[in-house]
């Protein structure tokens, strides 16, 4: 199918873009369009106005410092993935981005666009929520910062107002003593994941003292679960199989895996159990490697 007709604006400065958006309650922002254009073509979305931000200046940056990585609204996934400084400051970015669709899609799709598209089956919203990142948005009232955990309201629903544009995402740096890992299972490489898990751990004296996991495709929202209770108490430095299993069960209590044509609910629940253990262990190993070979 083809998109339904819509009016089109291609502003060349941010103020004009916000003004164009404010003029319609049924407008959509077009950045990479790798999620939006299929929705238009399938007529699942039929906005009256499309505001194309691809000609706005100064939004394609990927900048890193000791505090974290800042990604502009027009930075393509491929540019973020290839940025070595970003990889050094927050390695979870590249680990997750390698799982975002295929290279051809990453050449056009934007990381910030993926965040505000707010798809619970997407990788980057989970990464933002897990790391405690944020998104800066600009509207008629000026610029404000939306925390990652306040960005996602429901399936494909962000907390941005209709006349606000996301201009930059901030992903905090990996703290000392910490490690990260990302794992997902998809029917084919590059497809939407049946279940995906990102884990962030922090070690003290080689033991995990903080552990959180973010989940995609197994709830309506990108969901972060505190796994530390499953690892509490004594035990060995390296988390035992029993502790990893307990972490999986703990996570499952906070999630709501649903069945669909690709996988049953029971299979998705099993993926939560297995991937939680594997990813937690991988994050632990990552933290050990970083602390022992800085």
């Amino acid at each position: 199918m083809k998109p339904a007709p819509f009016a089109y604006a291609r502003p060349t400065d941010l103020a004009a873009a916000v003004e164009a958006l404010a003029g319609s309650t049924n407008a959509k922002v077009l950045a990479g369009g790798q999620s939006l254009v299929p929705l238009l073509s399938m007529r699942l979305a039929a906005p009256a106005l499309l505001v194309d931000i691809n000609r706005l200046p100064g939004l394609d940056h990927v900048t890193s410092d000791a505090s974290g990585v800042r990604v502009g609204a027009l930075a393509r996934h491929a540019a973020v993935l290839a940025d070595e400084e970003a990889h050094r400051v927050q390695p979870l970015l590249a680990m997750a981005l390698a799982n975002v669709a295929h290279a051809t899609i990453r050449n056009r799709g934007t990381t910030v666009g993926s965040l505000v598209h707010a798809d619970a089956a997407a990788e980057m919203p989970v990464v933002l929520a897990l790391l405690g990142g944020s998104v800066d948005v600009v509207g008629p009232g000026g610029r404000r910062t939306v925390a990652g955990d306040a960005l996602f309201l429901g399936p494909l629903e962000s907390s941005l107002a209709h006349d606000e544009i996301a201009v930059e995402a901030f992903f905090p740096a990996l703290a000392e003593g910490s490690g990260v890992a990302f794992r997902e299972v998809a029917r084919r490489h590059g497809d939407y994941a049946l279940c995906g898990v990102a884990v962030l751990v922090r070690l003290e004296d080689r033991r995990i003292v903080e552990a959180r996991a973010g989940y995609l495709s197994v709830s309506d929202l990108p969901t972060v679960v505190d796994l530390a209770p499953a690892l509490a108490g004594g035990g060995p430095e390296v988390p035992s199989d029993r502790a990893l299993e307990a972490a999986g069960e703990l996570a499952l209590a906070a999630l709501d895996p649903q069945g669909d044509i690709h996988a049953t609910a029971a299979y998705r629940a099993q993926l939560v159990r297995v991937l939680t253990g594997r990813t937690l262990r991988a994050a632990y190993d990552d933290a050990r490697r970083r602390t022992e070979q800085p």
Partner: protein
């Protein structure tokens, strides 16, 4: 009410074209319907199959996931632009012929554009890199083995071209 038309300039395979198209015109349709360049094939029309892949300023993109109006001013390379100047097959095309890398041929234009850019960025891919290079394109006929062989054959042909006088 007739739809508003937008001025779009595309340089396709080196030839500039000025179009007036509705904002909703997909790049794939602008190439096929407005310019008559039907070498770009439209399979799924939602970004999954990769048949419609073209090079946008040298970078592979899905032409069915782009509005023509948003890429106005860009250079586009389609499968028609992959032949040599004398009309003979370009190296990736020749490799597909040599290795029997196609059967029905529907998906082939997307593979050819993707591999052309892939070998430019990585002229000597390993077997696994060759597989990864085509991972975003679907083929229902070949089972991919001969396409992977064609990637490796194309790399040889391109390297050979560089050596010839």
């Amino acid at each position: 009410m007739s739809e508003e038309l937008h001025d779009v300039r595309l340089v396709v395979n080196g030839v500039p074209h000025d179009l007036g198209v509705p904002a909703r015109r997909l790049l794939s349709d602008a190439l096929r319907h407005d310019l008559g360049l039907t070498g770009t094939h439209v399979g799924c029309e939602h970004g999954v199959c990769g048949s419609c892949t073209v090079l946008l300023d040298g970078t592979p993109v899905r032409s069915c996931l782009l509005l023509a109006v948003t890429v106005s001013g860009s250079e586009v390379t389609t499968v028609e632009g992959l032949t040599n100047a004398d009309g003979s097959l370009g190296p990736v095309q020749q490799a597909f012929k040599d290795c029997h890398g196609l059967q029905c041929g529907f998906c082939t234009p997307g593979f050819l554009t993707t591999i052309t850019a892939g070998l430019r960025d990585n002229p000597c891919p390993t077997h696994d890199e060759a597989k990864e290079m085509i991972a975003g394109n679907l083929c229902r006929c070949t089972g991919y083995q001969n396409i992977v062989s064609a990637v490796e054959r194309a790399a040889e042909l391109i390297a050979g071209e560089g050596e010839s006088p």
